[in-house]
Symmetry: C2
Subunit: 326 residues, 2 copies
């Protein structure tokens, strides 16, 4: 009972309780997995113990990113992909990251409604997570949540995000393979190119294939992809069509993901992507630690003092940055 407030958090646990929680998560207990993700969300002080305990089990899951503009049918597609992966006997975790929402995750009711097909399946774990409001943002929280789901033994972890601006690029950075969803009637090709989606997709899917204009979107996208320069021996992203609501074409998407995974393994690109990802994760943790340190040096807030001096015209930001690092 006292444990609830012991660490100052509603889900606070002691470092001593971490190994047991990890063991239960590894045994397939969804509640324990959820608790571990909550520790990430809450920026729990025992997180470093959690990450250390997960180390031996890391790196086995395939991380698949799924992104697309609002309205292309992301939830329906995720739902259909999970169904197909389950038919292939793979355990699946879904992490829905909303980069624009300040609300905390664990939005269980919403998650259950949107993924109602799979809510009773113990081979499927579903969780949404808010990125904003965290000290370290998406780049800090998401990789650690993925680390939890990976170590918990899911074969595939789907990271789903709304594709708006920078966030889809960030999410592509988290994944081994990224699926970019499009749909007819969602804006022209120039916008697509501008938003940078031509650089991030490993598999492109034109959803709502039964609607007018789907073939044109596919054709346009293919020509744009042909124009993009690619190195010799590089992966050529396929452009597929689905109607996620009926399941049409979804098996082909999973096939393409299998092919891409094989390509990543053979080419050594999987290792390169994962090292790059790990770099960013380490950096984000280091920067968050530094920020905490900077905010608490001396009597008041050191950074505030320096900033006030710059605003008053007594200093410049480089001199202030030197002082901060000294």
């Amino acid at each position: 009972m006292t444990d609830r407030t012991h660490q100052g958090g509603r889900r606070g646990i002691t470092a001593a309780a971490v190994p047991d929680l990890v063991a239960r998560a590894r045994d397939g207990d969804a509640r324990s997995v959820g608790r571990l993700v909550s520790l990430v969300e809450d920026e729990s002080p025992v997180l470093r113990d959690v990450m250390a305990a997960l180390t031996p089990y890391a790196g086995r899951a395939r991380i698949v990113g799924l992104t697309g503009a609002p309205g292309v049918g992301k939830s329906t597609s995720t739902n259909a992909l999970v169904g197909e992966l389950r038919r292939r006997d793979l355990r699946v975790a879904v992490l829905a990251v909303d980069p624009s929402s300040p609300f905390s995750g664990g939005a269980l009711l919403g998650d259950r409604i949107r993924m109602s097909d799979h809510v009773l399946d113990p081979g499927v774990f579903i969780r949404s997570m808010a990125a904003r409001g965290h000290l370290g943002g998406l780049s800090w929280a998401a990789p650690q949540a993925l680390r939890v789901l990976d170590a918990a033994g899911y074969d595939v972890v789907l990271v789903e995000t709304v594709g708006v601006g920078q966030s889809e690029v960030e999410v592509a950075g988290l994944a081994d393979s990224t699926v970019v969803l499009l749909a007819p009637g969602m804006g022209d090709g120039i916008q697509a190119a501008k938003a940078g989606i031509l650089e991030i997709g490993d598999v492109y899917v034109v959803n709502k294939a039964d609607r007018e204009g789907a073939d044109k979107v596919r054709r346009d996208l293919r020509s744009m992809l042909r124009l993009a320069e690619r190195a010799e021996g590089a992966w050529k992203p396929p452009v597929l069509k689905t109607a996620a609501s009926t399941g049409e074409g979804v098996a082909e998407v999973v096939d393409a993901l299998e092919e891409h995974h094989a390509f990543l393994l053979e080419s050594g690109e999987l290792e390169r992507r994962r090292v790059r990802r790990s770099r960013e994760e380490i950096e984000a943790i280091a920067l968050t630690a530094l920020r905490t340190r900077w905010a608490s040096v001396g009597s008041g807030d050191r950074l505030d003092e320096l900033a006030a001096a710059v605003v008053a015209g007594e200093s410049d930001p480089y001199t202030a940055a030197d002082a901060l690092l000294a």
Copy 2:
């Protein structure tokens, strides 16, 4: 002649030449202002000398942010606002930040076409800048470019950006006052709320007021803003209507900006916003310095070594971050 390559950059200059360049920029020489902004873009090694030289002249300009989704008429609105500010005898600089473009700024031809009304006016400086691809990103480059334009003596600096996801929030963070542009037919209110525009605007403008649906957008926005919680004595953002292509309503937008500026001064909020901005600028410079340091410690790349160990399951990211900071 040798100067061109001396610092390894096409616009490389020596630290000794900085005071003269700053003096010319202060005298109203647009070419010198442009060169100083290029030094920011190029991440010139003399930037810290530039910033030190600008210190005595900082903090006089009013920084106005302008954001909105593609298609709401940002360029036309900027053009119209510049015209109105000039009629009030204010010198104006425009910094157009494109968060999704990897292309370098100084896109003079494009800038001239889009702002052709003002291109021969010495009281107007126009410049676009790319944010992606910079080591420190938008948060590193944009504040330093604004510092240049501020110190160069412009009364108002307009920062214009495409409102996509996170970038509009970032740009709001750079400005004293933020104008959020909307237009009829650009998507429903829920999307607006999701993208977080309800939190960032000091003045809302429904452009294309002559089109069908403008009054509905205005009404919907007003009700949404009424629902947003505001502290006692807080600024209540007005919702105005314009037809930027004819100039209708633009004077009222500038009036609202004047009122907001007076509010910022009286309430002490201007100082608070500027200190917060300065904090972020200092932090971005410090982090960029650290990243450079981390990439060059030891024989190889220290961060790469640590990341490889994490991927191999020999370490966890927290232990690696500790090693990085040690």
